[in-house]
């Protein structure tokens, strides 16, 4: 339960940010830091238990039919990462307030906290499906955090997302394969019985896919380039996600699967090879950077390589090295990022060529940087020294080939010597030499404090490394039970690894002495700019897609609609020929009055097709709609008929709004296109009729229909069965459909903004203002039809007065009718959809009367699309979640009788639907109706402008 509290606590913290922000501003970070610490305190008993080899577990079924559960489990390994997530998270949150400026802090704080929750969930998840969900959530929050810094960050954010999400797809496939092979998604079972996977035949693909997911997430060659690119993010994000925690998720995954694959030489060999080559190459790339942040990014890639390598070696010593170095790296790398952020803020640059001599003006910052750089370089007495020595010890134990130990240790030394060299370059670059900016001074202590805590911890934990021992031992025990791990100590005698350390320092100092020549060589090396290969691949995929789609890339709908239509016709003809003819009409399906409706319907449809005048076509379309309505009434579909009637009326309103300012006549289609279109249309019409004839009318009610008819009253208390299906039986469908409508409402708002943006550009006159001759034509037609009393300001006073008076009387009546229809929905035709359409009619009527949304009723004037949609969705989902409190599935309707009045939650659910549909109507009327009369939604327009800029 503690685990759930911690996880939910993170979510609550994230949601609290908007509430905290007005009071605390950017200092919200301090509140969040305290929140992180409190969650740490909450987690402490569980961590203590886990370290004492008593894992804490929580499990509730999630998808019982597939055996998938929400299982959280804190063992030694999870404890190690949880401590990092919460501890470093608290430091970063305390660092943010002095670092952040500008007004984006709400977004940053929310995303950072959400990421912390996702990362915590990732390490706690003991079910593979759950683990995958959190894995993706970390990638998504990383995407938004990288992409949040401006137009230039869009491309790197996209690269990071596509690379890590590509690995995520691999992980998903691996999870599916594992479930197929083992019959379970429970991580403990899988790890405890490696033979389930290794004997299944899926061992190789699973291992490859897991490694792929880990390599992409932890930026190993050749997928590393997204991580340096991600440095466009603000420094707290780089420190937290892209150094301390998220990039370690790949290491975590490898560690988790270590018990399953560790005995395979191929697993050991490939992990060690990829890890060590990444370590050496990235360290060399780091050394040649001038931008301190880019240097740190390549350094992170290199250090992650070392971690992958020791995890691959898989001996107890090597796994111990992996856990200690994971901890040490999080400490010193987060510190260095924070300090580089401070230098950047104070000196206005983080380029080595523009910095110099800062030690004289910022001595404390210089000292802290020195401490962290020592840890990075593996210099005693820091924790980095201990972890680096353990890594050497572990690498020397590699035994997947006779020569493996020696080569691995050698490459480890090479990477570490380069690391030593660039660690010194970091310090010298910023703090040594003549002081360029003498006017600078030390930052506020609040700014330095978080970095200082981490730097001092790295120093203290060198001599005090034995304090980490319980955490290290229990983490290794989680990977390989019952093995002896070496005791951790700063000094452990004259040994091979000490000798290797000395060799490392010697080479590193040698590199320092000949640094000019080394850098000259490194700078001459061909190394592509960040992400250039990725972009080439991406462009190639796009180009392939364009080439594939070129035959259909015409602007006309007909050009691409014709292909699927032809395919449909072909399929239909083949089916008809294959079936060898048609049965006669099913008996008893037509009545005399059906034929009357049909004749009228054919006539009206012909009018829609034949006319060249836009308004005539819309009017004829309305007649078709009315006839279909009649057909529904005759078929016993009363609710459907009412809905369609209202929709037809509103469609006519919207169509007339849109037709204002458009040509009154359609442009004629060339004759050479008309004849083939008619043939294709005729064929498809005949096929539709044939299929309907063959497939309908042969049986009466479905068993499901019988069930609903017989059970509705006692199940739901309702008597209008169609409405009980909508809000009780199949409420999930309805929720999905209502969501679609909400999305459409939002899309409408955005679309108008785009249109207005286009109109103000060099593109030409506004759609509403172009072609004055045509507009006048449309005006005349509209006037003759009496459908358009308001014409862009020069309205006819008399007609308008009539609408005004009608509106005064009608709008309140329509609202009352809407409320009545809504409330009776369970018992008689009505319900959320129908009632909202009536209310939408009142809104539209008000627009006709006044030229803006609303009318005499204050409520109507206050209606705005976005809040309506949001409130509707929230209401429906909240009603859906409420049954969970009494242990019922999502959207189960609850019934109660209070003082003799039957009450049901489905009425509230229906209210949500009502609000969403009304939101769509308000969006339609206000967006389409006010074009050219009122300024567009400025905020939406700004959003769209930003998107356009970024995508360019």
């Amino acid at each position: 339960m503690i685990l759930v509290v911690a996880l939910v606590g993170m979510g609550v913290l994230a949601l609290a940010v908007p509430a905290l922000s007005p009071r605390f501003g950017r200092d919200t970070g301090y509140v969040l830091a305290v929140g992180f610490l409190l969650l740490g305190v909450v987690l402490t008993p569980a961590v203590v238990d886990a370290v004492a080899s008593r894992p804490v577990e929580f499990s509730v079924p999630w998808i019982p039919s597939l055996g998938i559960a929400v299982t959280l489990r804190l063992d030694g390994l999870a404890a190690l990462f949880a401590v990092l997530v919460v501890g470093v998270g608290a430091l970063i949150m305390a660092y943010c307030p002095r670092y952040l400026h500008g007004d984006h802090h709400v977004r940053t704080y929310m995303l950072l906290t959400l990421f912390a929750g996702a990362m915590l969930g990732l390490v706690l998840a003991a079910d593979l499906v759950l683990l995958f969900v959190f894995w993706e959530l970390t990638a998504i929050s990383s995407f938004f955090l990288i992409g949040g810094t401006g137009p230039h960050s869009a491309a790197p954010a996209k690269r990071a997302l596509l690379v890590t999400a590509g690995g995520g797809v691999g992980l998903l496939v691996a999870v599916v394969l594992i479930i197929v092979a083992t019959g379970t998604s429970d991580l403990d079972t899988i790890v405890a019985h490696p033979e389930l996977i290794s004997d299944s035949g899926f061992a190789v693909p699973v291992a490859v896919l897991v490694a792929l997911a880990a390599f992409t997430k932890s930026a190993q060659l050749p997928f590393h380039s997204w991580l340096p690119g991600a440095m466009v993010a603000i420094t707290p994000v780089s420190a937290y996600l892209h150094a301390a925690t998220m990039v370690k998720a790949g290491i975590y995954l490898l560690m988790r699967f270590s018990p399953v694959f560790a005995d395979a030489a191929a697993w050991q060999g490939s992990l060690t090879a990829v890890g060590l080559s990444t370590a050496v190459v990235a360290a060399a790339l780091a050394l040649r950077q001038n931008d301190l942040k880019a240097l740190l990014a390549y350094s992170t890639v290199s250090q992650l390589g070392l971690l992958v390598a020791v995890t691959g070696v898989g001996t107890p010593v090597a796994l111990s090295a992996a856990t200690v170095h994971t901890f040490a790296h999080a400490l010193f790398k987060a510190t260095l990022f924070m300090l580089v952020g401070i230098i950047d803020r104070e000196a206005g640059s983080r380029d080595i060529r523009e910095l110099g001599g800062l030690r004289r003006v910022m001595p404390v910052t210089a000292t802290l940087t020195a401490l962290a750089a020592m840890s990075l370089a593996g210099v005693p007495p820091t924790i980095g020294f201990v972890s680096k020595e353990t890594i050497f010890q572990g690498l020397a134990e590699a035994d997947f080939a006779p020569w493996a130990g020696g080569v691995s240790a050698g490459l480890g030394v090479a990477a570490s010597a380069l690391t030593f060299a660039y660690a010194i370059r970091i310090f010298r670059g910023a703090f040594a030499g003549p002081t360029i900016q003498r006017q600078l001074y030390e930052p506020a202590w609040q700014f330095l404090a978080p970095a200082a805590v981490a730097a001092v911890a790295g120093l203290v934990l060198g001599p005090g490394v034995s304090w980490l021992e319980p955490l290290e031992k229990s983490a290794v025990a989680a990977m390989e039970a019952g093995v002896a791990t070496p005791d951790l100590a700063l000094w452990h005698g004259w040994s091979l690894e000490l000798a290797l350390s000395l060799v490392t320092f010697t080479i590193g100092l040698g590199l320092l002495l000949v640094r000019r020549r080394v850098l000259a060589v490194l700078w001459r090396l061909p190394a592509p700019e960040t992400g250039v290969y990725f972009d080439r691949g991406y462009d190639a995929v796009e180009a392939a897609g364009r080439a594939l789609g070129r035959p259909h890339r015409s602007g006309a709908v007909a050009a691409f609609a014709v292909w699927p239509l032809l395919a449909l016709a072909g399929l239909g003809i083949a089916a008809l020929v294959g079936a060898g003819g048609l049965p006669g009409p099913a008996p008893g399906t037509s009545r005399a009055y059906d034929w009357v409706v049909l004749v009228l319907l054919v006539a009206a449809t012909a009018a829609v097709v034949r006319t060249g005048r836009a308004l005539v076509a819309v009017a004829a379309l309305g007649v078709v709609g009315m006839l279909v309505t009649v057909w529904f009434v005759l078929s016993g579909a009363t609710d459907v008929a009412i809905t369609l009637l209202l929709v037809e009326a509103l469609t006519a309103v919207v169509a007339v709004l849109v037709l204002r300012g458009m040509p009154a006549r359609f442009r004629p289609t060339p004759a050479r296109r008309r004849a083939p279109a008619a043939v294709l249309a005729g064929v498809l019409g005949v096929l539709t009729a044939a299929a309907t004839l063959a497939f309908t009318g042969w049986r009466d009610r479905s068993p499901l229909g019988d069930y609903f008819l017989s059970r509705a009253p006692q199940d739901t208390g309702g008597r209008d069965v169609v409405n009980t299906i909508l809000v009780d039986y199949r409420a999930l469908d309805t929720l999905g459909e209502a969501t679609v409508l909400g999305v459409m409402a939002l899309a409408l708002l955005m679309l108008r903004a785009v249109a207005t943006t286009g109109a103000t550009g060099p593109g030409g006159p506004d759609a509403a203002g172009g072609q004055p001759g045509d507009t006048a034509g449309a005006d005349d037609t509209a006037g003759a039809g009496g459908g358009r009393p308001v014409s862009g300001g020069a309205g006819r006073p008399a007609g308008r007065m009539l609408f005004h008076v009608m509106d005064m009387l009608l709008a309140p009546a329509m609202l009352a009718l809407s409320a009545y229809l809504f409330l009776r929905g369970h018992y008689a035709p009505g319900g959320g959809f129908i009632a909202a359409l009536v209310a939408g009619g009142a809104v539209a009527f008000g627009w006709f009367a006044r030229g803006r949304a609303g009318g005499p009723v204050p409520v109507l004037r206050a209606l705005r699309a976005r809040p309506l949609v949001a409130a509707g969705l929230l209401t429906s989902v909240a009603v859906g979640l409420a049954p969970a409190l009494v242990g019922e599935p999502f959207l189960t309707p609850l019934h109660a009788t209070v003082a003799g009045v039957p009450l049901t939650t489905s009425l509230l659910f229906d209210l949500g639907v009502y609000l969403i549909v009304l939101g769509l109507l308000v969006a339609a009327v206000s967006r389409l109706g006010t074009a050219g009369l009122h300024s567009p939604d400025v905020r939406a327009r700004r959003v769209v402008l930003r998107h356009l800029r970024e995508s360019r």
Partner: protein, 109 residues
């Protein structure tokens, strides 16, 4: 029989309009195709029983199948949403015919 003919006529008209020039006519065709689909779905519920599925104490023997009706009800509202969206696109000046075809007449934008 009548439902089949109605659906066929609506589909033929809808497809024809879909293949015409100009977004407005395409939208008209789209609406007609929506009607056709709804007619087919209701017809699939059986056309012999035609009493509205409103329980009032009388027997349910002659009542129509309520399930297709529920499908169609939401489909109508979704079609309406799509229609409005398409109309908004048309309004935004997104007329769609390639320039070589519209050279015989001025682009209404």
């Amino acid at each position: 029989m009548t439902a089949a003919i109605a659906a066929g006529v609506l589909v033929a008209a809808g497809v024809y309009l879909l293949l015409q020039r100009g977004l407005i006519r395409v939208i008209l065709g789209f609406v007609l195709l929506g009607h056709a689909a709804n007619v087919v779905i209701v017809a699939a519920g059986g056309m012999r029983l035609r009493d509205a599925p409103l329980l009032s104490g009388a027997g349910t023997d002659r009542m129509a199948d309520p399930l297709p009706q529920a499908f169609v009800l939401t489909a109508i509202v979704i079609t309406f949403g799509l229609t409005v969206y398409l109309l908004a696109i048309a309004r935004a000046g997104g007329d769609d015919d390639p320039p070589e075809e519209s050279s015989d007449e001025e682009d209404p934008r």
